[in-house]
Symmetry: C2
Subunit: 133 residues, 2 copies
């Protein structure tokens, strides 16, 4: 079998790597999720960020239920070949399943985690069924 | 024992979480490494990004050999409490052990990984001994 770009990636013992999604325009780090080989291949082929949901044990096209898909502009790989960085356009401006723009809404302040980002849309208005992140 | 902010973090079965370091000024994602409880605590206490080196099996103050430390301006936690985001000032402007500004120097172009970021300083000029990332 021919070696492909997918073989360069250093999949962990579960066959996964972490993937960072970053908003292309603003540089905001939106979320970190996991990819397996198939998820990365689909991300490249479809131009839509596709992850491996560890909790659900299946492929997960980000936004498949909410409509908040991520259009992928660039796929990067790090020096150790075990982390993916996606530069994306976040459709709907909401990356987080809590209805916030991104998932990193808790900031450490004097040894307490403080929620510092507003909920833009209530999750029950986003999801008919329950999608995570 | 009192519950602390460190207990909120969802450490994995190895006691680790991934940590994304982002340059505060530019938004550039510099690197992703791993933290254990002690690494995160030290990061908060010292204001210098401290990770857990899986390859060396020890705490690793980023830049301890190269001088390319990361001054931490903000520590964030994601919705699932299992990813840390650090906003940092990267001293020396070089985050990657390859001598590049950041670790994500390979871009996917037509199913090939292409190195698209210049080496700013040769690793042998950076390290007396061998430090990774």
């Amino acid at each position: 079998m021919m070696t492909t770009w997918l073989d360069t990636v250093g999949w962990d013992e579960r066959g996964l790597v972490p993937a960072v999604a970053q908003e292309a325009d603003t540089g905001q780090v939106l979320m970190v999720a996991w990819m397996n080989r198939e998820a990365l291949k689909l991300t490249q082929q479809t131009g839509r960020a596709t992850y491996w949901s560890r909790s659900r044990g299946r492929l997960w096209v980000k936004g498949e239920e909410s409509g908040h898909v991520q259009e992928v502009q660039e796929i990067r790989l790090d020096c150790d070949a075990d982390v993916i960085l996606l530069r994306v356009r976040q459709v709907g401006g909401i990356a987080c399943h809590t209805g916030r723009a991104h998932c990193f809404f808790r900031r450490l302040e004097q040894e307490r985690w403080v929620e510092v980002e507003p909920v833009l849309k209530m999750p029950q208005q986003i999801y008919s069924v329950n999608e995570r992140s």
